[in-house]
Subunit: 108 residues, 2 copies
DNA sequence: ACTTACGGTAAGTGATGACTAACGCTGACC
DNA sequence: GGTCAGCGTTAGTCATCACTTACCGTAAGT
């Protein structure tokens, strides 16, 4: 399982995307992240575990609190993965469009 | 639910990613896509439905067959979504790194 | 009209995974 | 040492969803 796979699986959940968004907006401790969300703190903790495994966030201890921050690594992984699809998709799309144009011409 | 949400939900499944990859590699009909995969043809059909809703693929009828092709729209949507995170993540990351550097300096 | 190939859909089942409640651990403060 | 706050983890439940089987509609060939 590549890192891109992990990231896509991680971001495949709506709640987890919300957690990730809150971390990115500057939320630090698990409590702060969970506050205002409609899921319990342990749930957030589990989501953070998945996000961390996907290299989307990093954590570090500060006293009894645990501060989370965004990790660009995971984002870079999907980004690269997507770019690959993007390029090949564009090529295929252009080819298909031209194919269509040829057919269109033949019809007349 | 935005298009980016749909795409991320769609790509959150491993099998669906495989289907998408096969379409992108040039597979056209549902049969061709299903051949060699370890799931049945109806399963592939359902996955294609989700991918289509997320604007990741397009379909068009040709006789009794239905040809699928990659649709760049959905990819563009996640790409934009990711780019937003990417930029802000970099900023936050740099800030954090500098914060760390400051602390490091103070320690000495 | 009959048959065959192709594919979408409905219904039902099974498995994955998201969530909560309860517990245990650690660091800070008294 | 005792207490409290902050988190991770476990066990167990519940819901979501991926998958299969069976069925039906449609287009092409005979």
């Amino acid at each position: 399982m590549t890192n891109a796979d992990q990231v896509l699986d991680a971001l495949g959940d709506r709640t987890r995307r919300a957690v990730f968004a809150r971390v990115q907006r500057g939320a630090r401790s698990v409590q702060e992240i969970a506050d205002g969300m409609d899921v319990s703190r342990p749930a957030v903790s589990q989501h953070l575990k998945v996000l961390k495994a996907a290299r989307l966030v990093t954590d570090r201890a500060e006293g009894t609190r645990r501060l989370y921050a965004v990790d660009p690594t995971g984002i870079a992984a999907v980004r690269d993965w997507l770019d690959g699809f993007w390029d090949e998709a564009l090529v295929a799309f252009k080819a298909a469009a031209e194919q269509e144009a040829v057919k269109e011409r033949k019809r007349r």
